[in-house]
C-alpha cells in the first residue's frame, strides 16, 4: 500500500468530479491511497500571475506547506494545479527572497519548496509501472484508436524540470499501449486548448479546441484521451463552441483504465459528447473476458 498526498484542485470537486471518482477507483485498484490535503486552496490558475508574482507564490506556498507537513509525494491531476505547484515549489526552494516572503505571509504554516510533485501520468509510470499495467488490462481495447492529448502546460513547467519531452511527450501513449488501446501518431499533443479563454474569448477557444478535435480525427483517432480537467471540458464543449468540428468522445486517462480493467466506465453520463460508440465496441459489462 502506497499513500500519496492529493491536491484535487477546484475542477475535480466541481465540473470534473467524476474524474476524481475515476482516479481514486483506479489507484486504489493498484493499492495506492490518496490522502487529500487538509483545507487546500485554489492554485490561482492563470489568473493569479496576471495580478502579480507575490499572490501567485503565496497561493502556491500555502498548499505546498500543507503537503510538506505530510511528508509524502504530492499528486495533482489538474495540469494547472500541477504546473503552478511544481513551479512555485522550485522557485521557493531556489530563491531565498521568495522563500522568506511566502513564509512570512503563510505563517504559522512553513514551506521549504522541497516537495515532490507528480502528475497522473508520472504516478502510473513510477508507482505502478508498465508491466503491472499490461498485466492488469483484461478487456480488449483494440478498437480504441486514441489521440493522447497532453495539453500545453503539463510539460511546460518553466524553471522546473519537465516530466516528459516538452514537444513530443510519450508517457500517456506508453500507458495506452499497455492498456491495449491503439494510440495514433499526431502533431497536436501539446497544442493549447484555449484554457480559461472559453469565458472571455469564446471564439478563440472554439478555433483552438475545434482544430485539436479535427486533427485528432484526421490522424485516424476515434477518441481523445487527456489528464487535464480543463482540456477535457474545453474539448468536450466543442459541439457548442464550433458546430462543424469533429465530435470525438474525450476521455480521462483513468476512464481508459476503467475500460481495460472493468469493461465499462461509471460516469459516462457526465460526458457532453456521447461515449457510447466506444463503450459498445469493447463489449458490455458482464461479458466473459476469459
Amino acid at each position: 500500500m502506497t499513500t500519496l498526498s492529493y491536491y484535487p484542485g477546484c475542477s475535480l470537486k466541481t465540473s470534473s468530479s467524476f474524474y476524481e471518482h475515476s482516479l481514486r477507483k483506479i489507484l486504489s485498484f493498484y493499492g495506492i491511497e490518496l490522502k487529500e490535503l487538509d483545507d487546500w486552496s485554489c492554485c490561482g490558475a492563470s489568473a493569479a500571475p496576471t495580478i502579480n508574482d507575490k499572490i501567485t507564490d503565496v497561493l502556491g506556498a500555502r498548499n505546498i506547506a500543507i503537503a510538506e507537513r505530510e511528508g509524502l509525494h504530492l499528486v495533482a491531476p489538474c495540469s494547472a494545479c500541477y504546473a503552478r505547484t511544481k513551479v512555485a515549489a522550485s522557485r521557493i526552494q531556489q530563491d531565498r527572497e521568495t522563500r522568506e516572503m511566502v513564509n512570512r505571509a503563510i505563517s504559522p504554516l512553513v514551506c521549504t519548496g522541497s516537495l515532490e510533485v507528480r502528475n497522473v501520468i508520472e504516478v502510473f509510470l513510477e508507482y505502478i509501472g508498465t508491466e503491472r499495467i499490461s498485466d492488469s488490462a483484461v478487456y480488449d481495447l483494440g478498437t480504441v484508436r486514441a489521440a493522447a492529448y497532453y495539453g500545453c502546460v503539463l510539460t511546460r513547467t518553466t524553471g522546473a524540470p519537465p516530466s516528459d519531452d516538452i514537444e513530443d511527450p510519450v508517457g500517456m501513449d506508453i500507458i495506452l499501449r499497455c492498456l491495449g488501446a491503439d494510440p495514433v501518431a499526431w502533431q497536436h499533443k501539446t497544442e493549447c486548448c484555449g484554457a480559461g479563454a472559453t469565458i472571455t474569448n469564446k471564439k478563440m477557444t472554439a478555433s483552438l479546441s475545434g482544430h485539436i478535435m479535427d486533427m485528432a480525427a484526421a490522424a485516424g483517432a476515434n477518441a481523445v484521451v487527456t489528464t487535464c480537467p480543463l482540456c477535457q471540458l474545453n474539448l468536450d464543449l466543442t459541439p457548442h463552441l464550433k458546430k462543424d468540428s469533429a465530435k470525438l468522445p474525450v476521455f480521462f486517462l483513468t476512464e481508459i483504465f476503467e475500460l481495460a480493467l472493468f469493461g465499462a466506465i461509471e460516469w459516462g453520463k457526465r460526458h457532453l459528447i456521447p461515449v457510447d460508440d466506444i463503450l459498445k465496441s469493447i463489449g458490455t459489462p458482464g461479458d466473459d473476458v476469459a
Binding site: 486552496s41 490558475a45 500571475p49 518553466t158 484555449g194 474569448n201
Partner: protein, 178 residues
C-alpha cells in the same frame, strides 16, 4: 519617444534576458493565437528592446496571449517570452495602458472569488463576469448543457482558513483591488 530603460525594467522584473533575441520568429511561428494579435510576439520583444514602452504596454497582444509557453520552450536563446508578456500585463495595468480588459476583468473576479471562498466558486465567478459585461444570454445554451450534465459547480466550497487567506491575498495584491 523611446525609453531605453524599459528593456532593463522588463529584464529586472521578469528575470528573463531579452537582449539576446535575434528576431528568428520561432516564438511567433509556434504561437497558436498569433493571427489574433495586433503585434506578433517577436515584434513585441523587439519593441521592448527598442524602448517602445507605450506601444508594448498598450498592445492587445499581451491580453490575447494564453500563456501556453510554446514560445518560451522554443526560443533558441532561452527567452521566457510568456513570462515577459506576463510582466507586461502587470505593468500595463499599473500604467493604465491596458487595452483589452475582458481577460483582466475575469482574472480579478476569479482572484476575488478565491479570496472569499478559498476555492473557485464557478457559478458565482461566471455570473459576476456576465453581469459586468451585461451578457445575459450569450452562452445560455452551453451553460444549460453543462448544467444538465452536472458540469458546473453550483455551490461554494468554503475552506476553514478563508478569512486569513483572504486577508493575506489582499495584502499581496497591493494596489490591485480584489
Amino acid at each position: 519617444m523611446p525609453q531605453f530603460s524599459f528593456l532593463n525594467e522588463i529584464e529586472t522584473v521578469s528575470k528573463a534576458g531579452i537582449s539576446s533575441c535575434y528576431q528568428c520568429c520561432r516564438c511567433t511561428n509556434g504561437c497558436p493565437v498569433a493571427q489574433d494579435m495586433d503585434i506578433v510576439p517577436h515584434r513585441l520583444i523587439r519593441y521592448i528592446i527598442d524602448g517602445e514602452r507605450e506601444k508594448a504596454l498598450s498592445s492587445g497582444t499581451i491580453w490575447t496571449c494564453l500563456n501556453c509557453a510554446t514560445c518560451s520552450v522554443r526560443c533558441p536563446n532561452g527567452i521566457d517570452v510568456a513570462r515577459v508578456f506576463e510582466t507586461l500585463r502587470v505593468l500595463s495595468v499599473e500604467a493604465h495602458l491596458a487595452t483589452a480588459m475582458d481577460t483582466r476583468l475575469f482574472d480579478e473576479i476569479f482572484i476575488e472569488n478565491i479570496s472569499k471562498h478559498g476555492r473557485l466558486y464557478e457559478m458565482e465567478a461566471v455570473m459576476r463576469y456576465r453581469l459586468h459585461k451585461k451578457e445575459f444570454f450569450g452562452d445560455a445554451d452551453m451553460g444549460l448543457a453543462m448544467m444538465r450534465k452536472g458540469r458546473i459547480g453550483l455551490t461554494p466550497h468554503n475552506i476553514r482558513d478563508r478569512k486569513k487567506l483572504g486577508k493575506v491575498m489582499r495584502e499581496m495584491a497591493g494596489k490591485v483591488k480584489i
